[in-house]
Every structure is written in C-alpha cells, then in structure tokens.
Point group: C2
Chain length 449, copies 2
C-alpha cells in the first residue's frame, strides 16, 4: 500500500482536476440539465480504466452508465454512484458559482461535489492508481452509475428487472459517506425508503383580484387544509394505515444506536436551531432519526410571493411532500393510503402525483463488507468509525442490493458540513485524497474477506 | 357638450398617446420600481392643466401628487387616483409586454391601464378638453394622486392627518369603475377595509437535506398548521372576535342588492370555475360578496418549488394573508386579534407584519354625487347603470372621505374582463374616450347639483 499511497499523493493534482471537471459539468436530473453530456463524461472516465462501459437504457429515464473490470480473485465488489446532482437553487445563497468547483480554504465548493461526484471520482482514481502501481486489480469490480438518484431513482427498478445479472455482486460500496460533526468517520448499513408526492390544487383560471374571495375557491386554502389533515403538531402522521407496517428495531440495532456518539450540541449549532423537534434528546432522538418515518413539506408555492402586498386570489397551488419510509413500509402502498385519505376527507379535488417511490433496505451489522470498511478506516489511522445501523436518507439500496440479498455499506469523502442538497456544498481536498486511498484498502480487504 | 365631445373625438389620438406614455412608465410600489419618475410624470400632466401641483410628503411613503384648479362655482369635486400599479408578474402569462401599452383588437393592453392609469388619464383629458373648448372650469377640482394604493395606502392617513384642508371637497370621484360582465356601467358607493399581513416561520438556517425531518422543525408545516387554525372549510374565520363588529346591511342596501342583475353564468365562465364557493347563488351570493369579510391566502412560499423532486426540509416559509373588512371592522383590531390568536394557539413562533391596514367606508345611496354619476351614464346613452351599494374591493375611501363625512362615487373606464391585478390587463379604447366625456358630464352635473 505504501507505493500506492505515494502514487496517489504524487498524482493528487490530476485526480482533483478530474473531480473539478466533473463538477463543472452541471447534471440536474430534476431540471433535465446536461444529463447526456454528463453520462458521456462518466463513460469516458470508465473507458480510461479499460472497463468498456456502456449506457444502459432504463425504459423512460436517463441511462445508467455500467462498466466492469476483472481482477485476481473471483469476488465482485460493486460501486453504486450517481452522475446527477440536486438543483443548485437558491443561487443567491452560494458564495461561489455552484458550477465553478472553486478551491477555497482547503475545500472544493460545487453542487454535487459531496453528493456524489467526489465519491465517484475517488473510486475511479483508486482503480487508476491501483492499475498504474500494481497492475491487475485484486478483485472484480462493477461500476453502476445512475442519473436519477436525486429525483428518487424512478427507473432503477427497470434496470434491475431487465438486467439482474449486471446487478450481481458480493457486496456494494454505497454512493455516500463521510465524517460526522466531530470528525469521526461514519458507516451506514441501510437507507430509508421514500414516497415523494406533488400535490396540486386549482381554482380560477388565473390569479384574480382578491376581492372575489367571498365566492371563488382558493386553491391555497384547499392545499393548506388538506395538508393539515396529514400530520398533527405532535408530528403524528394522520394518514390511516401509515404506521401499520413499521417494524420496530431489533436488539442489535438498538445496541448500535446506544453506542452512537452524542453530537447534539454540534448538530444544533450547525443547523442554527435551539432544540430538536418536541425537545427530543438522547437515545429517543437517535431512535427517531433512524427508525421512524417522516412526512415533510419540501415545497409550497401559490399566488404572489414577492415583496410587499399584492392582493390576489391564487389560481393554483402546489406542494411537494417528502415521506421517508422505514422497514417494512411500501412507497406504493403509502401513496395509495394518501390518495384514499384525501378522497375520504373531501379533498378529491387535490391532484396527486407520485414522483419517486423507493423501498427501505438494510444490511446486517455483521456483514463482511461492513468489517472491511471499518478496517479500512483503522488502517488510515483516522478516528475510530461510528457504525450507524441505517441512514435517515434514501436511495435505491433495495432495488440494487436488498432485493437480491446483497450487502452494502457506505464509504465516502463528505463531512457533516458538506451541505449536500443545500447551497455551498463542499468537501475537503484532504478528505478526497484520503478517500481514494480508502477505496484501495477496501478493494484489497474485500478480496481477502 | 356637443362641441366638447367633438373636440374630444378630434383629439382622441393625443389622449390615447398620453395614456400609453403613462402606462409605459412602470410604477410598482410593491417592488419600488420607478415611483419617483412616475410621480414626476403625473405632476407634469397636472402642470399642463395649470394646476401648480406639488409632491406632498407622506412621512415614510411615496409622495402624493396634489393639484387644484378653480372654477365658476364654489363647489369642489375631488378626483382620487393612484400612480402606482400592481406587479406585472407572472410575466410569462402576458400576451404582450405589460409595459408596452400595445393597442390590439380595439383594446390597450398594459399593467395599470385599467387600475388605474386609464381613469387618471381620462380625468386629465376631460379637464384639458373643457379648458380648451369652454375656458373656465364649471367648479373647483382637486387631484389627489397617491403612489401606494396597490400596497394598501399605508401612508395616506398621514397625508389626511397632516393636510386635512387638502382633503376637503364636496364629493370625490373614486379611482376605479367600469362595466359589468353584461356591459352595464356599475357605480359603487363604498369599499371594504383591508388587513394585509405577512406571516413568516423559520427553521434551520437554510434549506436542509430532508432526511433530518424527524428532528428538525419544518417552518412550512408550522405555517400550514397556523393557517389551518384561521379559517375552516366552511369558510368560517376562526380568529376569536373577527366577526364581533360586523354590521348587518340596512334595508336600503338590501333593496339595492336585490336589484343587482344576475351575472352568475358569465362570471363563472370568466373565472373558469363550475360553481361558486359552497354552491352559493342568487341573493345570498350577492350579499356575501358585498357585506361579508374575507380571509384569503394571497401567497405562500417555502422550500423547493421547481420541477420534479428535491428532497429538502425548508429553512423558512412565508404566507401573505389578505383580509377584506366590512363596516365596522377595524384593521388594527383585526391584526391584534390575529396576533393574539396565534399566540394563544401555540404559534408565537410565527412572525407577523401588518403591511396595509385600511378601514371600510360607505357613501349613502342617495348622495348627490351618486345621482350625478347615474345621470352622466344616461346622458351618454349607454346602458342603464347598476348601483352597487359597496364594492368588495378596498382602498383609502375612509381616510380621504369617510372620516371627513365626504361622499364619493366610482366612475371609470374598466370592464369585467379588464383583468386588474392579473396578466393581460386591458381597457377598450372606446371606453377610454367615453370615460373622458363622462368626466365632463360629471363636472357639469355636480356644479349644478
């Protein structure tokens, strides 16, 4: 490993430049921005490794970039990543151009650098360095790089259905990962599911003078009233059946959660709030974060939202609802429950559209890949890693791994203030270089696991 | 009058050009756009009439353009107008540039052409024509042209307090007016009051990855829950005390309302809706429109509102609440009731700001100015005017007239599809020319009333 690490350090500038190139290429799936160009760029990176990649059709979505490489032992490690990123808005809150990938104060600042072009670039760099220094890879590799993770991976189940063979691996390294707020590396062994729904209400054919409000329906009120029936102020979701399939965490999970470090003060300071919802703290807070589903208004728009007073009656209203699901909730069932609830409560005028269904998924705490990742952190002499039984985030873990019984574990170059999904997304340059080395350790470790 | 009307017809092109010039000058008080320039332009128009106008300071708001002209008899008619207009947004719904004042299909299309630069220009044109043809005016005139009507006239009470002498008149012609959906001229003898409030909720210091929604407060939910406590689905306002001071309409009002023509089918078609709120129809609908207060969400914004799925927990949420008040509701009291209600129901975290308070006001149905305006329509041989006891709209009628016991009546060049406050605002060129003639008839009629 010493030669390998030396090579990585010597070529750090090249690897950083590749990451910057990737970040300077916008790729916003939600807005359809430059997706084809970015897929081609990723294909080019895999071609550079000798992977003979291809763009796999997903029946209606952006293609998945797929590439495989053979290695010394007949064991296969999959890398799941995505080439799409979140929208950069609100643009005026960025301190530098989200597509400039500026390096400032030891960090690279760009939309998508943490989530997850930094991880993709680190994995490509690790393979490149290994090949240059050691020649043959220690095990088989698969790169599965999708283009729709940030919009809820709506077509990856088509890919898994059409090409189950391409999905097969002995384990996956998941797309994200990094350090917690105290600088301790975290690994996650699961994801929540997601049911993301857009709700729309309509009134007059356009925004109208609000003097007609005595007699003309107001879609903003309709949506407010409908949303207010979905969750109460005690954070209890009121959709009948919502909690029916929720599985309580097992003993091993509870044991792992009890060991999680206390980061409340730092998290509160980072978030800029005084207390967590309902004053939650300690074990209850951790359990809630990992094992309870959510029902979140992610967006709401209606009428006049500019400066000052404009006296209009809105013609339409729109809300986005983001529900994170835990085992064994089913996003399609949850969507049906929501629709039935709206119809039953007199809100059949509210249109709903399921934008991105995703199942929850878990990997056992004692899976071999988890131990390999933990060991990789120990070998890097960074802080002792924190094992988080599952993540409060979401992704197609079930579609790609869970449904095939394949284990997966996170490993990545982010940190607690990476601001994924928010303005001023960033990673530390040092973490990126360390992340390249870590992937080398993981490939080596898993080949012998 | 024949010579006067002939002169107006002969100079119609000049008067239309002046109106276009006024409309091409944006003047959005809500956004602080070009207000000083527009005030100067209006001052120029009054100077052209020999009025020696001045800009009157309003202690913190845009100035009021004030001008007066002497006439044959010692009787004074006031013209209340405003030089500000609504914001032009949403811009992509306009068929021509809102600031181009394009003439198309016999109409002038521009933000503010109906509300109310068309009326202001018609009044200026009428005075000009009278002076050119007859010399001395038949009575004294006052022009009071404010710059903040569209943001709720927040400073006109300062003007009235500082300069009660300038407000004095025997009657006012109010700023708006026009035809109903069947082409019948309408006159209005009052206005609702208004209490326009912006509500703001805050959560984390910025939009965050929505995976933290288990434990981080969501300002969009806070605002939805708070709003849902303000009005129920039966349109009943739930703020304690809201209805306490509402005065029932008197017999004369009810008689006038009973005479109002049925325009329901046309109104529904124009609005693009199937039925009015709660299936209201007939007399109940008319009474509701004129004599009941409203509580309207005019705008709501939070989180991600673009295309597709962005999984964020909003850092802030904002709503605009437009409450139209009837006699004897007091906007300051209503604001206090709202604030107390929010505090009492656990929503003391919701910030509120009163943007534009306005009192309701009425003029008696038998006021002399009303008869003069009715007669002016009869002399113009247009359809028999419809007398509406009050308007569902708002404005500073109380501050300028009501508190001094001065009568006022509407008269203007709009029509039912003028789309005031909406995209594609317009008036008919013919109505503008007729409106100039009407003002001549009103000046003449009121001088002899």
């Amino acid at each position: 490993m010493r030669d390998l690490f030396k090579y990585i350090d010597a070529h750090a500038g090249d690897y950083i430049a590749t990451l910057q190139r990737l970040c300077r290429q916008p790729s916003v799936a939600a807005q359809g921005v430059s997706m084809v160009e970015t897929a081609a760029m990723v294909e080019g990176l895999l071609t550079g490794l000798g992977a003979k990649p291809c763009l796999v059709d997903t029946r209606g979505g952006y293609p998945i970039v797929y590439g495989e490489l053979g290695g010394k032992v007949d064991k296969t490690l999959g890398f799941y990543n995505h080439y799409d990123v979140q929208p950069a808005e609100p643009l005026d809150e960025w301190e530098s151009d989200p597509w400039a990938a500026e390096i400032r104060d030891g960090r690279i600042w760009a939309r998508g650098v943490a989530d997850n072009k930094g991880n993709l670039a680190a994995r490509v760099a690790a393979v490149d360095a290994w090949q240059k220094v050691n020649g043959e890879l220690p095990l088989n590799l698969k790169f599965i790089v999708e283009g729709e993770e940030e919009i809820g991976s709506p077509h990856i189940h088509n890919f898994a259905e059409d090409h189950p063979d391409l999905c097969q691996a002995d384990a996956y390294i998941w797309e994200f990962g990094g350090k917690d707020i105290a600088g301790r590396p975290q690994i996650h062994l699961g994801l929540k599911g997601i049911c993301y729904v857009e709700l729309r209400a309509k009134g007059a054919r356009m925004d109208w003078h609000s003097s007609v409000a005595t007699s003309v329906p107001n879609p903003a009120w309709r949506l407010v009233w409908a949303l207010a029936t979905l969750k109460d102020e005690r954070e209890h979701v009121l959709i009948p059946g919502f909690y029916d399939k929720v599985v309580s965490p097992g003993d091993a999970d509870l044991e792992a959660v009890a060991k999680l470090p206390d980061t409340e003060a730092q998290d509160l300071a980072n978030l800029g709030i005084d207390r967590f919802l309902q004053g939650l703290t300690g074990l209850e807070l951790k359990k809630r974060n990992l094992f309870q589903p959510t029902c979140t208004i992610s967006g709401f728009e209606s009428g006049y939202t500019g400066k000052g007073a404009k006296t209009v009656l809105p013609g339409k209203a729109m809300a986005k609802l983001d529900m994170r699901l835990v085992p064994n909730q089913d996003p399609f069932e949850i969507y049906d429950l929501l629709r039935k609830h709206l119809d039953a409560t007199g809100f059949d005028d509210i249109e709903t559209e399921l934008l991105s269904p995703g199942f929850p998924a878990r990997t056992p705490l004692d899976a071999p890949i988890a131990q390999v990742v933990i060991d990789s952190y120990r070998q890097l002499s960074v802080k002792e890693p924190v094992v988080v039984p599952t993540s409060p985030g979401s992704g197609p873990w079930y579609q790609l791994c869970g449904q095939f019984g394949i284990d997966a574990c996170t490993a990545g170059v982010g940190h607690a203030k990476s601001q994924a999904h928010a303005p001023n997304e960033n990673i530390y340059v040092d973490d990126f270089i360390t992340g390249i080395k870590q992937i080398c350790l993981i490939m080596d470790g898993f080949s012998r696991a």
